[in-house]
């Protein structure tokens, strides 16, 4: 369904000041409802073949023009640093990329707090070893359109010498579009200035486009540093991908251990995230789930924390409040609008099973590709991991970590503010384990054409 239809036709149109027809669709189009799709990871064996592949694929990559009413399936493409090297980008251009992007997500494990269970040494191949060069994704709101778009994408790389497929992962097609732990997700995206749509209820003021798209002023009033040349940087952006395996058995056991009835269990599940499974926020539905509220994009994000400063409704340490503290008074000075990300996460594998409680259930292939877009995706992810996910200091919670994607130490706690005294749950576990990750550059359409038409400097390479 198109965004405009999901909103019942009431779309607050605003001015367009970014070049939507040059920006890739995924940057602005919301994940469809329902959604179907595939991520394909490719390896470039030969620079010239790789560039020809990019050239062949580019006409099939959708732009973000009129993204609010685009309902078709679309194809997107993004390239890792080793991919840009494999495609033969000029040295000067390669050097202009940020350090964290050049070394890759695995090499930044210390900055991201990816150790123990999440250590890149435990990642699945081909993640984190520089083999993934190009990621192609198809998103669709219908099974048929997904298959058609996949066919189009496949035609560009299958049987094409010099480009090999490393990994194909279908996603979506989940009952009710729920994530692997059984929640509606991807609610609460940032509003972007100049994107053509004014803020939806609860989105807050629009954030300067330069935070999400290269070449425009960011929140500090100046454009962020951009790769050279201009045609490569402008209208492009960065994408982070983190593949999580969801430990559904551990999660369900935790809920059962700390709740006496199904009702209590669901409330605890809601306290961890800040939303009920339906997506209804605890701020608007503090005592019981409200499925109609959860499903209504005009209402399910329309709140602030003005009346909940201590977290009696939405715990200060809940996933939703950590990732977007909104108007919460934090213990550390931070500008919330600098740390927002566009999320296009996708769920794969077996659907959530509320009765799965065994250790074996932790290993059933089921999880999420957490996909985030930002003009400074690397810096933002390091900030979030260090400060807001694997830390509690900013919310005056000591060492407590994000209950959803945090890496929990032995004996970790989760605090639920209550009257007259808070409840502190001991022994919270890591519910989502990192199994892979990569940083990608998502070129504008003109940048893709520039890459496709690169030719080696004179002389043999």
């Amino acid at each position: 369904m198109q965004l405009v239809d999901r909103l019942g036709g009431e779309l607050p149109r605003g001015a367009v000041t970014v070049e939507l027809d040059d920006i890739q669709a995924t940057v602005l189009r919301y994940r469809p409802e329902p959604y179907y799709g595939t991520h394909v990871m490719l390896h470039v064996e030969d620079a010239q073949a790789g560039r020809e592949f990019v050239q062949r694929l580019t006409p099939h990559i959708d732009s973000a023009a009129e993204w609010w009413q685009a309902g078709e399936a679309w194809i997107s493409v993004a390239i890792t640093y080793t991919g840009l090297v494999a495609l033969g980008l000029p040295e000067d251009s390669l050097r202009s990329f940020p350090e964290a992007f050049r070394v890759g997500m695995a090499a930044r494990a210390d900055k991201l707090g990816d150790y123990g269970l999440n250590d890149p040494q435990n990642w699945e191949k081909p993640f984190g070893i520089g083999e993934i060069h190009i990621g192609v994704s198809v998103f669709s709101d219908s099974e048929q359109a997904w298959r058609d778009a996949m066919h189009t994408a496949q035609q560009q790389y299958e049987g094409f010498a010099g480009v090999t497929v490393l990994l194909t992962q279908d996603f979506g097609a989940q009952p009710g579009d729920l994530n692997p732990l059984g929640y509606r997700d991807s609610i609460g995206q940032p509003a972007i200035e100049g994107s053509g749509v004014d803020p939806l209820p609860g989105q807050g003021r629009p954030i300067r486009a330069g935070e999400f798209i290269l070449g425009y002023p960011g929140e500090a009033g100046v454009p962020l540093p951009m790769p050279r040349p201009e045609v490569l940087g402008r209208n492009s952006t960065f994408v982070g991908l983190r593949k999580y395996q969801s430990r559904v058995g551990t999660f369900n056991r935790f809920l059962r251990e700390h709740a006496r009835s199904e009702q209590e269990r669901e409330l605890l599940a809601a306290k961890l995230v800040g939303r009920w499974r339906s997506g209804a926020p605890l701020t608007l539905a503090p005592t019981q789930d409200d499925a109609a509220l959860g499903a209504d994009p005009r209402r399910n994000n329309d709140f602030t924390y003005a009346d909940d400063p201590h977290g009696h409704q939405v715990p200060l340490g809940s996933h939703m409040r950590r990732m977007n503290p909104r108007d919460t008074t934090m213990a550390q000075l931070a500008d919330v609008n600098l740390h927002r990300i566009i999320r296009r996460s996708t769920t794969f594998g077996a659907p959530y099973d509320p009765d799965a409680t065994s250790e074996h259930d932790d290993d059933v292939a089921r999880g999420i590709h957490f996909i985030f877009i930002s003009a400074k995706a690397m810096a933002t992810m390091e900030f979030l991991q260090q400060e807001w996910i694997n830390n509690g200091n900013f919310m005056d919670l000591g060492d407590e970590r994000d209950p959803n994607i945090g890496l929990q130490e032995d004996g970790a706690t989760f605090t639920i503010p209550e009257h007259p005294v808070r409840r502190r749950i001991h022994g919270i576990q890591t519910f989502n384990v990192l199994r892979g990750g990569e940083y990608f550059f998502m070129p504008s359409l003109s940048a893709l054409r520039w890459i496709g038409s690169l030719r080696p400097p004179s002389g043999p390479r």
Binding site: G113, Y115, E219, A220, G221, V222, L224, P225, M330, A331, Q332, L333, A334, D335, N337, L338, A379, E382, F383, Q386, E387, N390, N391, N393, F394, D396, G398, E409
Partner: protein, 208 residues
């Protein structure tokens, strides 16, 4: 975060301590008499310190950390008349730094004027790392920081994308760093103060 216990290398301790003491004796071989005597007389205390697990860690690009608390030391050349302006500003502020209160991670700050008012030594103890927050300072408290740092030579402005590199280039890592309560952040300290007051109030009431 790795805990201190995990970083300890317990099995090799004895051998390592002996080696360290040997190194100290060599280092102090040319020390004044009283230094050499102090080394020999203080060996039993030193052995315990040398045998303990390391408490040192690094903070961001430059600087040392112990537990949650990091050190940040800058030596910045003053701009023309910068020393006079900054001295005037600091005197008028009379130790009130509301911006530091708002930042919420600053334990202390000292401003020391060196070499006949040609350089500023700025030293602070703070929680975590500074460079993830520079952009936040640039949008939240830009005026306060520009007002202070404009007095230093070459300051590009807190909003400049070059400001992190500029700061790092003037930062000097402490050779050593000790924190009395390494696990207490400013936020934690304030919380414990509140809890302590509440507990006293409670105890006063029940003992009346």
């Amino acid at each position: 975060m790795t805990t201190q216990a995990e970083r300890a290398t317990a099995p090799e301790v004895d051998q390592t301590v002996e080696r360290k003491i040997q190194q100290l004796r060599e280092l102090y071989a040319d020390a004044p008499e009283l230094g050499r005597v102090a080394l020999e007389n203080g060996l039993s205390d030193l052995e315990r310190e040398l045998a303990a697990a390391t408490r040192a860690d690094s903070a961001g690009r430059v600087g040392a950390r112990q537990g949650r608390v990091s050190e940040f030391t800058l030596i910045l050349p003053f701009a023309d008349r910068g020393a006079a302006r900054l001295r005037g500003l600091l005197q008028l502020l009379q130790g009130n730094f509301q911006l530091a209160d708002r930042v919420g991670t600053v334990h202390d700050m000292r401003f020391v004027f060196l070499d006949n008012d040609t350089k500023l030594l700025f030293a602070t103890a703070y929680d975590g790392e500074w460079d993830p927050y520079i952009e936040d300072f640039a949008t939240k408290i830009p005026n306060a920081l520009d007002l202070l740092l404009c007095n230093c030579k070459g300051f590009p402005g807190i909003r400049s994308p070059q400001v992190k590199d500029w700061l790092a280039s003037h930062q000097i890592a402490a050779e050593s760093w000790y924190v009395g309560s390494p696990d207490l952040t400013v936020a934690e300290t304030r919380r414990l103060e509140r809890v302590g007051h509440a507990l006293d109030e409670f105890l006063d009431k029940i003992s009346d």
